[in-house]
């Protein structure tokens, strides 16, 4: 055989490698051919593996170290072929004898054939792997997926489709889709695939299967690269659960909205910028908005202090914790200030990220005012509006050192108890209010006045030394005097003391000093104050009833006249005259509607009226000028027979002056006109007196009185 033919045979041999199932098989073929054709005593094939490592096949090697480095001096015995690219692999053949040029050429062809097969195998493996991955992905889909050609034959389907149909996958391919999927003999009515065929566009529809499942069907045209129509890809997704869930969600949302709408409290939802995205009617009413007007408004436009709202929302955002009981002043649409109490709750998404806020709101304007009022009252005296003792005591502890020098005023309203007793507490309260007004109008704007006791007042004058304090005191007394001039029925008498601390003594000590000075002032002014008081009361009584004044004047004449007839001393006659003038002083404490009632008094009214001798007694007792007639005032309504009041004295237990006053008082009352009767004549009046002698009147005195009056008539 010629060399050329031998070479041709060898060429034929080296290019005749079968496509191996594994790389081991390929290497075995390589070893067989190289040992036979080239006398190879060693071969190695290096391939890259998927994990970055190399896969090395060797034969005839004891030590693979130095693989692919040409051994020294053995180059002629070896062939090294690197694939393209080099990373794709390398092939090494070692021969017992030096390779002839034609053998090296053939060996190279063999190596290239091996490379080509490896590459082809790799491509096939990659393709197979890709196909497997594709099928794995498509078969793992819950959705049914199948591809049909222009004649509606199924060319490919995934496992879900086969499961849904209940046929093995192999039985689907090649069959008409309507026959396999629907059991129809022909195309389905309104077949989406046919619509795709006709229009060339994707189609979508929702159908209900015979089992009641809701199916979303989508059909897509599939085209080749050249645009030629290949078929239709169909996806069927069972959306029954999703539809039910959506419906359930819709119902739940509707219910939620209904609940929110029905809430009596305002409800809101705001985004992270503070813009309202949801609100109910109650929230809108709260702010005076029309329905739908609140949504879109930002919190900073609703609240009076946007910074406060921002701080609260930011705190909730940062901490993730809800806040309750936050009170904000909001701008009502009508402009009037309102206060609302809101809660702020963060709303989080499924990842825990805060996406918005929600909360409820209620109008607490009245409550706030009430609370403020309570707070006010906790520090203020309800009657006068001044600060109260608690506040004053707190100030004594906490006053700032920058306020020094500090002057403390201590004042006492004189005779309040007496006034309350005589005139009643309402009159006493009016005096207290008047006193408070005097202080308020007299002190400086920085000064603070407090009512620290029933009739005690105190003032804190910051940055006030002795000289300034004196000025303030003078202003108080001036105002007081002006008040008394204008209000004789509400005469005020204040005992005032002041003391100043420059920081060298405690305010408690300063207060004690002021109190002492007030007491000193009171002592100095006591007698004059009491006389002023009684004169004031008498003036009050006279102001009330002019007839009473005339009656008093007549009695002041009659009583001493009888006293003279009976031989009373001068002093006794003066007492009698005084008694005549002040015996009814206690009537200033009787309400005018009882005092001047024209009809009969009810038992309750009579009881009040019969208190006036005692009241008169207390008034007279409190005045040095009247104290000596106080008992006479008390007994001026006693009767000879003991049927009088208030003590029920009888006979000569009743003081002579009172027995005399009783005769004169009764005679004058009978002989004076009253709104409910005309005056009696003297004769008639004396006759009554005669009749009542021994019961109402002292009989002896009655006889003397009658004689005096008859003699006077003559």
């Amino acid at each position: 055989m010629s060399q050329a033919l031998l070479e041709l045979l060898a060429l034929y041999d080296v290019t005749s490698l079968s496509t191996p199932k594994t790389f081991e098989d390929l290497f075995a073929q390589l070893v067989e051919k190289t040992t036979r054709l080239f006398g190879a005593v060693g071969a190695a094939l290096v391939l890259p593996a998927e994990n970055g490592q190399q896969t090395v096949f060797t034969w005839g090697w004891k030590n693979t170290k130095g693989l692919f480095r040409y051994p020294k001096g053995a180059g002629e015995h070896c062939l090294v072929h690197h694939f393209t690219p080099k990373e794709a692999g390398s092939l090494y053949i070692k021969c017992k004898q030096a390779l002839l040029p034609e053998e090296r050429r053939l060996a190279l062809i063999l190596a290239q054939t091996v490379e080509r097969l490896i590459h082809q195998r790799k491509v096939e493996e990659d393709l197979k792997k890709a196909e497997e991955e594709k099928n794995l992905i498509l078969d793992s889909l819950a959705e049914q997926l199948f591809f049909i050609d222009g004649k509606q034959r199924i060319k490919w389907a995934n496992l879900s489709t086969a499961s849904a149909v209940g046929l093995p996958l192999g039985e689907l391919v090649g069959r008409r889709c309507y026959r396999v999927l629907k059991g129809h003999c022909g195309s389905c009515r309104e077949c989406l695939a046919i619509a795709v065929f006709k229009s060339g566009k994707a189609q979508q529809g929702v159908v209900i299967s015979s089992q009641g499942r809701i199916l979303d069907i989508r059909s897509y045209p599939m085209r080749r690269a050249d645009g030629a129509f290949r078929g239709v890809l169909n996806t069927i997704t069972d959306i029954t659960q999703r539809v039910k869930a959506e419906e359930s969600l819709r119902l739940s949302e509707a219910k939620y909205r209904e609940i929110v709408a029905m809430l009596q409290e305002g409800f809101y939802e705001a985004d992270l910028s503070g813009t309202i995205i949801l609100s109910n009617d109650a929230a809108e009413r709260l702010l005076g908005y029309e329905p739908g007007q609140l949504v879109g408004k930002n919190f900073r436009h609703i609240v009076k202090n946007p910074y406060t709202a921002l701080r609260i929302f930011n705190d909730v955002y940062v901490t993730g914790r809800a806040r309750q009981g936050v009170i904000l002043e909001v701008k009502h649409s009508e402009g009037k200030p309102r206060f609302v109490e809101i809660s702020v709750t963060p709303i989080k998404d499924s990842t825990g990220e805060i996406t918005s806020f929600c909360g409820v709101a209620r109008d607490v304007t009245e409550r706030k005012r009430h609370v403020e009022k309570l707070e006010h009252y906790s520090w203020h005296d309800a009657l006068t509006g001044l600060y109260n003792r608690a506040w004053f005591e707190q100030q004594l502890k906490e006053i700032d050192s920058a306020c020094y020098p500090v002057t403390l005023l201590m004042a006492d309203l004189d005779g309040l108890r007496l006034i309350n007793d005589i005139m009643g507490h309402a009159h006493g309260d009016e005096l207290l209010k008047a006193c408070a007004r005097v202080f308020k109008t007299s002190v400086r704007a920085t000064d603070r006045v407090a009512r620290i006791g029933g009739d005690e007042f105190a003032a804190i004058l910051p940055k006030c030394d002795e000289d300034v304090a004196e000025i303030v005191l003078k202003r108080i007394r001036r105002t007081l005097s002006e008040h008394n001039s204008s209000n004789p029925q509400f005469l005020l008498s204040l005992s005032i003391g002041a003391a100043t601390s420059h920081g060298d003594s405690s305010l408690r000590q300063t207060f004690k000093k002021a109190d002492n000075r007030m007491l000193g002032d009171k002592l100095l002014r006591s007698l004059k104050q009491k006389n002023q008081l009684i004169e004031g009361l008498a003036a009050t009584l006279a102001e009330r009833d002019y007839t009473t004044r005339l009656h008093v004047e007549r009695l002041a004449e009659l009583c001493p006249r009888l006293g003279r007839r009976l031989g009373l001393s001068k002093e006794e006659q003066e007492d009698l005259a005084l008694l005549a003038r002040v015996h009814d002083l206690g009537k200033v404490g009787v309400p005018p509607d009882i005092l001047f009632k024209q009809g009969s008094l009810t038992p309750e009214e009579r009881a009040i009226m019969e208190q006036h001798p005692e009241k008169g007694y207390r008034i007279a007792s409190s005045s040095p000028n009247l104290v000596h007639v106080a008992r006479l005032v008390l007994c001026h309504h006693e009767r000879w027979d003991g049927g009088g009041y208030p003590l029920g004295l009888r006979g000569k237990e009743i003081p002579l002056e009172c027995r005399i006053l009783a005769l004169a008082d009764a005679y004058d009352a009978m002989t004076s006109d009253r709104p409910y009767r005309r005056a009696m004549s003297q004769r008639e009046a004396l006759r009554v007196i005669r009749e009542c002698a021994g019961s109402q009147f002292d009989p002896q005195l009655a006889e003397e009185f009658i004689k005096m009056m008859e003699e006077n008539e003559e």
Binding site: A10, S16, L17, Q29, R36, G39, G60
Partner: protein, 376 residues
């Protein structure tokens, strides 16, 4: 090195083994390595016992064969022993009990003991079951397992074709259906191989094959393609023709590896004595002009002997098919071939079922060849 060959035709296996061993040892002295072949229906265990009782602790390797080759010719019923001894000779043996461990894989997995040795005087004698499968792959596995630097010789073991049951032996024992192996260190061997057939030049591609059966050649049924090339009328003529016209697989240097067709299957496939891998280019081989393939024997034996200046032993492994083909002319041809070789040179070998040689590089399994291994 000293060598000796002994042969006994005693029907008793043990006696035959003892006698053959004595004869061999008488010339070699205490052996380092002994070769044992049996031919005929001997109990290999008895033979082994007999031989070992004489050779003592010597390493031993051997097998059953169709015939034992000595200077006296071919003995088809007897026990032959060849002993090699000398101070520089070392040897190891290995017995593999089954060829089922051999697959198509190339990777070696045998626990063969090797000794360190400088130089190229390392020779592996291997005797696999000649009826076994994939002997070519076995040789590649051995090469991979042993490593580079070893020369290979040997042949497939067989029997007298009565029982088709082969034996392989080492000093460790006997097995059947496996292979026996001996590695000899310290003896320089020269190798020769040849068959005498020539390629016709018409290439064919083995398009489908599995194991020893070839289904298709050039995409058509194997027999039809083979028959068309040789103008065979039908399969009845196959056996007459196939022995003369094996297929040849191209080897290095323009040589051809012969593959003996054995029989035709009902499906038109052809079973060969040895595997032909698919995608192999083959050509029909023909006897040389005149039809005498025996001429190559003399050439091979003489050339190999001539290349070994210190020849102390000549191993001859001749394919049994050549024995069948040449008939009576075989021994005549052997005698003629040995006539040109020093008469005192011991000659020992066997009729093998396939021949093993690494003359071209790695060990290959040949058919229808004569191999000569001369060493000293």
């Amino acid at each position: 090195m000293c060598s000796g060959v002994g042969l006994s035709r005693d029907k008793d296996g043990k006696r035959a083994g003892m006698a053959a061993a004595k004869e061999a040892m008488a010339k070699s002295g205490p052996p380092t390595i002994s070769f044992l072949f049996t031919a005929g229906n001997y109990d290999p265990a008895e033979v082994l016992t007999g031989v070992q009782s004489i050779i003592g602790p010597s390493k031993l390797v051997g097998a059953s064969t169709y015939g034992i080759i000595t200077r006296g010719g071919v003995c088809t019923a007897g026990v032959g022993v060849c002993c090699l001894g000398g101070p520089n000779i070392r040897a190891t043996t290995y017995l593999e009990k089954s060829l089922s461990t051999v697959g198509s894989a190339y990777a070696g997995n045998f626990n063969i003991v090797t000794l360190s040795h400088q130089g190229k005087a390392k020779t592996v004698f291997v005797f696999p079951d000649g009826f076994g499968n994939n002997i070519s792959a076995l040789l590649r596995q051995l090469h991979d397992s042993m490593g580079p630097g070893y020369s290979y010789a040997g042949g497939g073991t067989g029997d007298n074709l009565d029982k088709r049951c082969t034996y392989q032996l080492t000093d460790e024992g006997v097995t059947t259906g496996g292979f026996s192996l001996a590695t000899v260190y310290g003896v320089d061997f020269e190798f020769g191989l040849g068959h005498g057939w020539q390629p016709t030049g018409e290439p064919m591609l083995v398009t489908r094959a599995e194991g020893k059966r070839v289904y298709e050649l050039d995409g058509v049924t194997a027999f039809s393609r083979y028959a068309s090339s040789l103008a065979i009328a039908d399969s009845n003529d196959f056996s007459h023709v196939s022995m003369k016209y094996p297929l040849g697989i191209l080897c290095r240097g323009g040589e051809f590896l012969l593959r003996d067709p054995l029989q035709v299957g009902d499906d038109g496939s052809i079973v060969f004595v040895t595997e032909i891998p698919p995608n192999t280019v083959v050509t029909i081989m023909t006897p040389p002009p005149g039809g005498d393939v025996s001429q190559v024997k003399s050439e091979i034996l003489y050339n190999t002997y001539a290349s070994a200046p210190k020849a102390k032993i000549m191993f001859v492994f001749d394919c049994v098919s050549r024995y069948f083909l040449l008939g009576e002319a075989f021994e005549r041809n052997l005698t003629q071939a040995l006539a040109g070789i020093e008469p005192t040179l011991p000659v020992f070998g066997c009729l093998s079922f396939g021949e093993i040689s690494s003359i071209s590089g790695a060990p290959l399994f040949y058919n229808k060849c004569i191999t000569a291994v001369v060493g000293g």
